[in-house]
């Protein structure tokens, strides 16, 4: 037996396009943990991989679509959600997952997010929130905390950030959860739940950005940021999303929305069936 035979394959290897490795992400970045949790969720649910589509926008996490071994599409900046809407309506058999970043989904793509949530399109949005635009070198975005230093807030951020789970709840999402990359089991459980639930879901993943945002803001190494997550994360059940703050001393995490409501696709199919039935009724009169 030679050494090669003894080498174990990563249990999730079949879910990745091996030829696209190594990935582009920095050491200590939370994107790997996010992707791993997603792949574990797929593995545990034993979903038919031919029926999964992963769609991303632009940014560091946007490359995730290219790494997963399912049908995938890397759209323009901010447009993953409307693209996903077209995919899901055109082929309702598909499970459609959007994996993208806070800037992509909530700044340039913010309008699409609220409208897809309002319509309750059956797509799952997993958002890597690292509080800044990492790919372009660390500019502030719609989730950057007040006073934070970024390359375009050299005197400190004076814009109030979005509370993403509150936005999702107000917009009509049937499921909204927030975890940091520390709570990997809960994150995976949330992804599994969203994948099995009908309707628009948001899972926000607070994610370290050790090379850029965390360094600029002197938050320490990736390990130190994870320790900070451990120190300040507060898990709550059915907490008011409006009060789900993210500050230096408190990160409120948990499931904030978990309700039932017919999806857009279901209502569309019901309406279409009714229209056809009525027409056929008239034709036989």
């Amino acid at each position: 037996m030679n050494n090669k035979d003894l080498m174990l394959q990563h249990p999730l290897a079949k879910y990745l396009r091996q030829e696209r490795m190594p990935h582009i992400w920095c050491e200590g970045c939370g994107n790997g943990i996010l992707l791993n949790s997603f792949l574990e969720a797929l593995d545990e649910l034993q979903l038919d991989l031919d029926n999964i589509v992963v769609i991303s926008g632009i940014g560091c996490i946007g490359r995730a679509a290219g790494y997963v071994n399912v049908d995938s599409f890397h759209t323009t900046h901010g447009r993953a959600i409307p693209f996903a809407t077209g995919v899901k309506l055109a082929n309702p058999q598909l499970k459609v997952v959007v994996i993208s970043g806070d800037g992509d989904l909530f700044a340039i793509g913010g309008n699409h997010f609220i409208h897809a949530a309002r319509r309750n399109v059956d797509i799952k949005v997993i958002c890597a929130n690292n509080f800044n635009y990492g790919m372009t070198g660390g500019q502030y975005g719609p989730t950057t905390p007040l006073e934070a230093w970024t390359t375009t807030t050299p005197y400190g951020n004076i814009e109030h950030p979005f509370n993403l789970v509150h936005l999702a709840a107000a917009s009509g999402a049937v499921y909204a959860a927030r975890w940091t990359t520390l709570q990997v089991r809960r994150l995976k459980a949330s992804i599994k739940k969203a994948l099995q639930k009908e309707g628009f879901s948001l899972i926000e993943v607070i994610s370290p950005c050790p090379e850029i945002y965390d360094r600029y803001n002197k938050l320490g190494t990736a390990v130190e940021v994870m320790k900070w997550f451990k120190l300040v994360s507060e898990v709550h059940k059915a907490y008011d999303p409006a009060k789900a703050v993210i500050t230096k001393n408190r990160i409120i995490i948990g499931e904030f929305v978990d309700i039932e409501k017919p999806s857009y696709g279901r209502l569309l199919r019901e309406m279409t069936a009714q229209v056809k039935e009525d027409l056929e009724g008239e034709n036989t009169k």
Binding site: F73, T85, G86, L89, N111, H112, L268, L279
Partner: protein, 383 residues
């Protein structure tokens, strides 16, 4: 007739251009419409909202035109024939994702019922001001196909043609009509469905393991798998290789891809380009026109002939790719060329480029009124 569970409404109808366009799309197999209301294209959306559910199709009104075209690209990748319809302002918003459709070779149709611009301009007035935007609106180098109908019948026929071209070449194809053609009512003959030519995108013939989503056949067009068919492929707006893997710094990959995207149109111009020629054989003065302006031009050419002027008309049905070779040939024989356009001079530049030394004169018109035949005849006399 809007109450019908048939996709093809065979028979003789009295329709507006917008409605005929919607019926053409349905006859071509379009089963997904993503759009946003805008004058003077709204009637297309309204017709599709009513008709698509009757035949099991999908209508969705998106939050804006950026979302509309994004959803249409998504639906195309999920296997549907898909379209959107808009006017100038919405067309401007779509431009970035038109580039995405070009780059990822998504077959789809974009209808632009042109109104007066720039900006909000004159929403209910005709224009031909988006001609250059149709060709150059998105960033980067690319080739697209744009057809210009000049009657309600052509709104039906050319919409089908747009879908067939989109499916053949895997490109976004544009139907560039103007407000008058969109809102005008005329007789339309809808043929039996078995007499309508329908082309569908070619599918991969290799098993998923051997499928490379951007590996072209000899015609430079790659076969297209769709989501959920088991091919598990990746597509990206980034420069990519034949496997769909991003190639963001490779000069050979950038060159190869962009040249192929342009090449699949450029090498097929002869099969794509459609024109109508009227008394060109011995023409001294040739009018090159498209859309609404070509109707006055036809009348002007006939009138001029009765007055002893050797006039001819080259009506462009395809405006992109521009029929450069044909215009050059005609220019060799003609003494003068007149280009009536409802803008400040857009396609006239292409005509000038092709015509070389033959004098080309623009007859520009803005606002409510299209060209009058008499104005074109006068222009002929001046030449």
């Amino acid at each position: 007739m809007a109450k019908n569970n048939k996709a093809v409404l065979t028979g003789t109808h009295f329709l507006s251009g917008d409605l005929a366009c919607a019926e053409g799309a349905l006859a071509a197999g379009c089963r997904f419409f993503g759009g946003y209301p805008i004058t003077p294209a709204t009637e297309i959306a309204e017709r599709m909202a009513r008709r698509l559910p009757q035949i099991g199709g999908i209508y969705i009104q998106m939050e804006d035109e950026i979302a509309s075209i994004a959803a249409v690209i998504g639906a195309s990748y999920a296997g549907k024939k898909a379209m959107t319809a808009t006017s100038g302002p919405g067309f401007s918003l779509m431009q970035e994702n038109i580039g995405l459709a070009v780059m990822t070779e998504a077959p789809l149709v974009i209808v632009d019922i042109m109104r007066g611009g720039p900006s909000t301009g004159q929403p209910t007035m005709p224009g031909q001001q988006d001609v250059m935007q149709a060709k150059w609106g998105s960033h980067g180098d690319y080739e697209i196909i744009a057809l210009a109908p000049s009657s309600v019948q052509e709104m039906f026929d050319l919409t089908i043609e747009c879908f067939n071209l989109a499916e053949t070449f895997r490109v976004p194809v544009m139907l560039l009509a103007d407000e008058i053609i969109g809102h005008m009512w005329e007789r339309v003959e809808i043929p039996p469905s078995n007499e309508i030519t329908i082309i569908n995108r070619k599918k991969p013939v290799v098993p998923p393991r051997e499928y490379h989503p951007f590996q072209p056949d000899d015609d430079l067009v790659p076969p297209m798998a769709c989501f959920g068919e088991g091919y598990r492929f990746h597509a990206t707006g980034l420069t990519h290789d034949e496997k769909g893997a991003p190639k963001t710094v490779s000069i050979p990959e950038q060159t190869k891809l962009v040249k192929r995207l342009c090449g699949k149109i450029r090498t097929n111009t002869d099969t794509i380009i459609q024109v109508k020629e009227v008394t060109l054989e011995d023409a001294d003065v040739v009018v090159v026109a498209y859309g609404i302006a070509s109707r006055a031009a036809l009348s002007a050419v006939r009138k001029a002939r009765t007055q002893g002027i050797k006039a001819g008309l080259l009506r462009l049905i395809t405006i992109w790719p521009f029929p450069e070779k044909l215009v050059a040939q005609i220019a060799e024989q003609a003494k003068a060329i007149i280009v009536p356009e409802m803008n400040c001079g857009q396609l006239v530049r292409e005509v000038e480029r092709a015509a070389k030394t033959t004098p080309v004169s623009l007859l520009s018109k803005l606002g409510e009124e299209p060209h009058r035949p008499s104005e074109i005849v006068e222009a002929m006399r001046r030449m």
